[in-house]
């Protein structure tokens, strides 16, 4: 990406961030603040999965491993060592990178469905370890007792509003960073590997390495989502690493659209919104959500963002022909 276009996107991100930061001054609804924090966590998580699914052509069913790894490692570091939050944050992301390096080195050479299953296997293995290592992780009860959250840089994360600001800043920064990575030469090599690995190989691209780098980066950002979540719930739970969490992320990505960078963010907002609304208006949560999923799979066939982008393209084409 040229410096100019990145500057433009950085400005857009900056404006979005300013708007988001202003939200607590407009409303004092705790539900909105809570929604904002969860959205920040899931937007980063879903977008990191889309780095693999949409841009790398690697369908991972086990991405929640990193969400959980981020949440648990961050929680455990905070509970065991008195450490400033930024340092623990960096260490937790480092842990996710290490796990992703090991898992990725084994997984990325496998094709399609086997890749999906092996990532799922590693995730469930991690889940089993968390469930069975009760003395360290709290087992199926989760990481209890709350996380110490010492104030830093004037932010006291025990306060929901401060936590909200922290979450949106980290969220927007992560999204911008992922955008930068995906628009870099590396990002285009990744797209090429997705579209035609053979050809990429002929051109001297080390396919295995490109895929592995993407896998590690996706793992790191997935961990960032988990850390935000751990801060929100002040703990970590085995559900974070369960396969339903991976399923939700896949669904967010698909609902938003895999071909548009911002799609998964939209998908995350939609799914979180649907979940909140559906649980409020009906007891038949599954029935309603299932119908919505079917609608997306069989009628729209693409995510919302792709759908809109195509429509926009059509309008523009018409304009040019006229």
């Amino acid at each position: 990406m040229s410096a100019g276009s990145f500057l433009r996107e950085a400005i857009i991100a900056g404006i979005a961030l300013c708007v988001l930061i202003a939200v607590p001054f407009v409303t004092d609804s705790s539900a909105a603040i809570d929604f904002g924090i969860r959205l920040a966590a899931f937007a980063v998580f879903a977008t990191s999965l889309n780095m693999l699914v949409g841009f790398g052509g690697m369908v991972s069913f086990g991405h929640a491993l990193y969400f959980g790894a981020g949440a648990y490692s961050f929680g455990l570091i905070m509970q065991h060592f008195a450490m400033p939050i930024p340092l623990a944050f960096v260490l937790a992301v480092g842990f996710c990178a290490t796990v992703a390096l090991i898992v990725g080195a084994i997984c990325v050479r496998l094709s399609e469905i086997y890749f999906a299953f092996l990532t799922l296997a590693f995730q469930m293995l991690f889940h089993s370890i968390i469930i069975s290592w009760t003395s360290f992780t709290g087992g199926d009860q989760g990481l209890m007792g709350g996380l110490p959250r010492p104030p830093f840089l004037g932010l006291d994360l025990v306060d929901p509003t401060d936590l909200y600001w922290f979450a949106v800043i980290v969220g927007v920064a992560s999204l911008l960073l992922m955008r930068y990575i995906l628009q870099s030469p590396f990002g285009y090599s990744l797209r090429m590997v997705r579209d035609n690995a053979e050809r990429a190989k002929f051109l001297g691209i080390n396919v295995w390495r490109i895929k592995l780098y993407a896998f590690i980066m996706a793992g790191c950002f997935g961990g960032v989502g988990g850390i935000i979540m751990a801060l929100l719930v002040s703990g970590a739970f085995p559900e974070f690493t369960y396969w339903t969490m991976s399923g939700e992320a896949v669904f967010m990505v698909l609902m938003g659209g895999i071909n548009t960078f911002i799609g998964p963010v939209l998908g995350a907002a939609l799914l979180l919104g649907f979940n909140d609304v559906i649980t409020r208006v009906t007891d038949h949560h599954g029935l309603a959500l299932g119908a919505i999923v079917l609608l997306f799979a069989l009628v729209f066939k693409h995510g919302i963002a792709d759908f809109l982008a195509q429509g926009w393209q059509k309008i523009r084409n018409k304009g040019e022909h006229a």
Binding site: S128, G290, K301
Partner: protein, 301 residues
């Protein structure tokens, strides 16, 4: 990890017999679910993520049929046929639309049905745990073998599963229908060029695979407590079984199912909390060493 208890068990014949029989029925049920899954993958090339829910549906339909007819044979047949019919509906109106699409779309449609079926079961049968109870003619003293205890129903269950394995093998390798199905699996466009209706074959295989899951659910009804969502763990385990055995291979599914059944029953003594962990390690090991599974063909990538 309680390796002492596991070691104790291995030195006592009665414990080995009891655990092996438990492992065998777990494996027998798992085999029937996984056989359907692997058959559908082998012929249609799609992964039916809703397969666990079909198992659940089989169990619940059998429960109702048993309460009405008071006959376990009738409830089993109704359970299997009912789920077979439902699978036909599912395939014709929904799955058929995503055959060409990538695996994510298939996953999505199945995910929708998992959610819908779980909720439908909740509405029809209630969300509390239900149990069918052991049918009267199986309420007999268990068989004693080397000090171990084997309930009569277990023997019946293992017998049915063995019978199904033989029937499946016979149909697939000795009959004309089996030949057609194998042809459709190997080369669908050639098969349809020869004048066979592949769309119909797909529907038939999907319905048959679903019926197998329903049969397993119906047979499991007396020994498992039922709740909405019971399909999840079965789905995951039958995935592991098909991956270990080789996706598309029915014989592989049998080996994989027995292996997982034994890991589950002996694991419950030695490492009750890490059973799933061991199963996933087994699956990961297979995927790393031989991604196509123990009996899978190398060709399909």
């Amino acid at each position: 990890m309680d390796s002492a208890a596991l070691l104790d068990c291995f030195t006592s014949v009665s414990c080995i017999v009891t655990q092996t029989s438990t492992g065998l029925i777990v494996g027998a049920l798992l085999f029937m679910v996984a056989a359907g899954l692997t058959l559908i993958f082998g012929v249609l090339g799609i992964v039916n993520f809703a397969h666990g829910s079909l198992y659940m549906l089989g169990a619940y339909i059998a429960l109702s049929a048993f309460r009405i007819s008071d006959s376990f044979v009738i409830s089993t047949i109704v359970g299997a046929l009912g789920v077979g019919l439902f699978s036909l509906f599912f395939e014709r109106f929904f799955m058929r639309r995503v055959y060409g699409a990538d695996v994510l779309m298939q996953l999505l449609v199945c995910y929708a049905f998992i959610l819908i079926l779980d909720d439908a079961v909740k509405i029809i049968w209630g969300s509390e745990f239900q149990s069918m109870g052991m049918p009267a003619y199986f309420q007999q003293p268990p068989v004693f073998l080397g000090g171990g205890v084997i309930p009569v129903f277990y023997i019946y269950l293992i017998g049915i599963a063995a019978l199904m394995a033989i029937v499946l093998w016979f149909i697939l390798s000795k009959t004309k229908v089996g030949k057609i199905v194998r042809a459709a699996a190997g080369n669908p466009s050639m098969t349809s060029a020869l004048g066979l209706n592949t769309s119909l074959i797909y529907a038939g295989v999907f319905a048959f695979g679903g019926a197998l899951a329903g049969l397993a659910g119906a047979l499991a009804a007396p020994v498992r407590s039922m709740s909405p969502g019971m399909g999840f763990s079965v789905l995951i385990e039958s995935f592991i079984v098909t991956v270990i055995g080789g996706m598309g291979s029915v014989a592989g599914a049998l080996i994989g199912a027995l292996l997982i059944g034994l890991i589950r029953s002996f694991g419950s003594i030695g490492f009750p909390l890490f059973i799933e962990g061991i199963m996933f390690i087994a699956m990961a090991a297979i995927l790393v060493l031989k991604p196509s599974g123990i009996l899978g063909k190398e060709t399909r990538k």
